[in-house]
Subunit: 569 residues, 2 copies
């Protein structure tokens, strides 16, 4: 009854990806111009996409201009037609001067994994790992608490304003007050406000000193709601080329951060390619690689293997680590009566380890060492919810909330080390139980930013879980969740391909924007108003170009109505 | 950057639709069995789809059965493999005996429109219009108030229970309490409960005596949340064949009612084809046809043309009419400062008529005559929100709420005539303003069922408005909206084709089910639990078959992982 195109073979997919990344050119959207916002420092220029609009034609034949609309742009150099791109060399090292000028870092000594061969891929990456000088802490939280406004904070202030100080604040159209559930987004974001939010732990700037290619961004409920896209190959699918293609594609379609969840062979090489070419912060789940190192045998995992993995990834430049340190030995029994047990892969690995050795989790026991390591590179912690519910039935149970309270304790420990922290959340939650997730998280985790996977609001639609979860994501974003981890149509069924990445991101940029509107973000409604005005005035091309996906909007219109205009409804 | 297949030509689309409907065979979903639930009367048999499941394999090699899961089935005879189908003859007249046995109807005299030629399409429809005998009221509301439990009510009680009295009430898995915002759905729905809800005006059974082919269903917030699909051709697109194909397709994918919004030529014939072949209630917007009759000239519209149109549609068998009688002359000025003015087509027509003549709306002035006509056929009124907002900016404004209060007055008038009523709602509403729509509707419209279009929670994603609005639909369904009018990916851009109908319905059955879960519908979570259990036990085939769209779930899985099993996450 349903029709699907025959999927490409693995060889075809890889060849297509190789062609895509080798011919990359900076590209923006139709009728959009890449602009840069400037602050007081000459070396800070923040990209925005400026959508150019046609004038309104009045009945008397006169015209009135519609100002261009600036929108937040995650695509980095890939969104700049003037940019020369070469994935073999990687992106420019935007932050390197800022990092070295602070005079608190030094070149790392060369550990063995620096020698992992990349040259069979003919790369020309020029990455030289840095680390904090002895006794120094190099985190944005450390600077914020010391009252220092970093260039990263200045950059973010400009970026979060989305140029709205430059464009008409008042578009003459009605805008609604939000209901922000206690979030407070000022009309104009200053660098000092960014600093205060980071200092308070309410927001994080994931920015490893070894990932200077990334453009600074912030995750916190008093800022624009963010979206993460998961990519990563596995032993059965995908290639490095495809992962780089998905990375570029993800930033084009609005990913604020990307998690590389690769498993299988070439995990180090894949990550190196991703980091050197990523304009957005990169997160990982280090236990995945640690497990590869012990050939998948959980009983062989230990603190040393894990610590080496953290160090390896720290020096490559991973911006945030998902660490399932809240899966305590005593919580495992709480999952016994669940319908779907433990569905977090990291959570399941740690639960199994605890059972094998009848010992407390080595992640929990060594948490302070983890913090010390993160403080030396400015890696943010994303405290994983290893006991998140995997089904509607298991939502908001004692296992989940017991772990959440432990994540709150760990947050305080991390903050003692000036390490930035966010908290991961579920998963699968029916609508009436979503708000409790947010209020419990705020209460037990001291307002550290929340970062949820969906949640899915029903389990009955595999193949459409970007929709089942887009509903929950919009709602929890409204309630205060700072970043939404996308779910693609392939969730529960397979690994996302390039088209799935796009579909997941469209659903989640919708959810994030709906949340910004509902919270009353001062600038969010400008885009809705501009698009609605274009629609009402039959400026079809402007309507497409203001849409999240101009190509699909135009194609759908042309399919039914040809290139002529038609009624709006 | 985005790829779309070249759409079919109009000729190809029509030929494909013709082949589809001429070769129709009753068909159910993979591993599903069409079953019928029986009540006390021999002539009541209610279809359910019974999804057959595989046993659980335990570690010791033993097996334990998983009971089949019954799900609500809107597909009528099209979902029964044993059924002989012929679209030229139409569906069996399921309710005809019930209608005639009540002894309150008679054959209609033959008005001119009975002679509109259908025979160039070679149909063999045997429709003989009925009407109430003089002085009789034949509405389900009338019977309900008189204390009569009709066969329709018995049918609905069985249907709403979805066979859950037959299957294990307790699946052994955790189920959540809902937050129902005042809705009260009993654990077991009795026919007496159905009668009470109809008598109170809190629910309606759209069931024109001239549409005996339709299977009874109910719309009210103390029942399962329903979904409507809009179809209909226009002067530029589609054919009768395609509309019948979309009708069948819509009922297969979960449409509880279908609205035929056809315009252009052959509007009567298209509707006749749809009615004679529809197992679900059909709604229309009669002003569309009235306007065709005066060749699109609004100034030529008048009460007589409109009344004749109502009568024509009443005798064909339309189950509910959308009537924009709340667009009062004095409200039009309230829309002057809107971003998107009046976007409801019916609302715009009536506003224009009021402006031309500077008179009160003839729909408002003749509302009691409309009620008299509806009472003679049991046509439900769907009081249209002609001033619904067409953009986020215009949500919840005075124009919208002024009309809503008038709809409340009209509800009381309709109830005086024993006419069933539901109220239409928006449209475009940011999340923080959705709940107010529901509470205002309940308050001003005396708990008559609410029936909303979405609402879209943002305007920035044309091409994906099934998602922007699926979010709002799930939320307002939770708050108490009784039926959700779907929005397809083509909304604002073009008319939905068959695939769009499916995509819209999947998004909206997700929204309706998420709402049922959140309200605490006693049986909703059975399906989530069954699917989650299948997922956890790696019963892949069961997971597909329990999904809303088994075909897509399986295709996505096979695309990545081949036909072998794999990890759940």
């Amino acid at each position: 009854m349903s029709e699907h195109q025959h999927p490409l073979s693995k060889r075809e997919q890889r060849a297509r990806a190789q062609a895509y990344i080798s011919q990359l050119q900076g590209e923006t959207f139709p009728n959009s111009v890449r602009r840069y916002l400037h602050g007081e420092r000459a070396d800070i220029k923040v990209p925005v996409r400026s959508i150019q609009l046609h004038p309104t034609k009045h009945k008397d034949g006169s015209l009135s201009d519609n100002p261009p609309l600036n929108v937040y742009d995650t695509s980095g150099p890939y969104g700049d037609p003037a940019q020369q791109l070469d994935v073999l060399k990687g992106l420019p090292k935007l932050r390197l001067d800022w990092i070295t000028t602070r005079n608190d870092v030094e070149a790392s000594p060369v550990p063995p994994f620096h020698e992992i061969a990349l040259d069979e891929w003919h790369t020309e990456f020029s990455h030289q790992p840095l680390r904090a000088k002895a006794g120094k802490t190099v985190t944005q939280l450390h600077y914020a608490r010391a009252g220092i406004i970093t260039p990263e904070m200045e950059y973010i202030a400009l970026r979060e304003n989305m140029g709205r100080t430059e464009q008409a604040q008042d578009d003459g159209m009605r805008r609604h007050s939000g209901n922000s559930f206690g979030a407070r987004t000022p009309k104009v974001i200053t660098a000092e406000f960014v600093r205060q939010e980071v200092a308070a732990g309410r927001a994080i700037i994931p920015a490893n000193i070894n990932h200077p290619e990334a453009e600074p961004m912030i995750i916190g409920r008093n800022f624009k709601v963010k979206v993460n896209a998961n990519i990563g190959n596995s032993s059965v699918t995908s290639s490095i080329e495809e992962e780089v293609e998905k990375l570029v594609w993800a930033t084009r379609w609005g990913a604020d951060t990307v998690m590389d969840l690769s498993t299988g062979r070439r995990i180090h090489q894949t990550r190196e390619w991703i980091l050197r070419n990523s304009p957005v912060p990169i997160g990982t789940v280090p236990i995945y690689q640690a497990l590869e190192k012990v050939k998948g045998d959980v009983s062989q995992l230990n603190w040393q293997v894990y610590k080496d993995t953290l160090l390896e990834q720290a020096e490559q430049g991973v911006d945030y680590f998902t660490i399932h340190a809240g899966v305590l030995k005593e919580y495992v029994a709480l999952t016994a009566k669940r319908v779907t047990g433990i569905v977090s892969r990291g959570g399941a690995i740690m639960a199994q380890w605890c059972r094998i050795y009848n010992q407390q989790s080595f992640l929990y026991d060594h948490f302070e060492e983890i913090c010390q390591l993160c403080a030396a590179y400015d890696i943010s912690l994303s405290l994983g919810d290893g006991l998140r519910p995997g089904s509607i039935a298991d939502a908001n149970d004692e296992a989940q909330f017991a772990e959440l309270r432990t994540l709150g304790e760990l947050t305080k420990i991390a903050w003692r080390y000036d390490v930035q922290v966010m908290i991961e959340g579920p998963g699968h939650v029916p609508m009436q139980l979503i708000e409790e997730n947010m209020t419990e998280q705020l209460k037990h985790c001291h307002e550290a930013p929340f970062y949820t996977l969906g949640p899915l609001t029903t389990d009955i639609a595999p193949g459409y879980d970007h929709i089942t979860s887009g509903i929950g994501a919009a709602m929890i974003g409204w309630y205060g969740c700072a970043m939404l981890c996308y779910v693609t149509p392939k969730e529960h069924l397979g690994l996302p391909n390039k088209e799935d990445v796009k579909q997941g991101l469209i659903a989640y940029t919708i959810a994030a924007h709906a949340a910004d509107l509902a919270k009353g973000h001062p600038a969010a409604q400008l885009r809705d108003n501009a698009l609605s005005k274009a629609r009402y005035e039959f400026r079809w091309v402007d309507q497409y170009n203001l849409a999240l996906d101009p190509f699909t909007a135009k194609a759908y219109h042309d399919e039914t109505l040809g290139h002529e205009g038609a009624d709006t409804e």
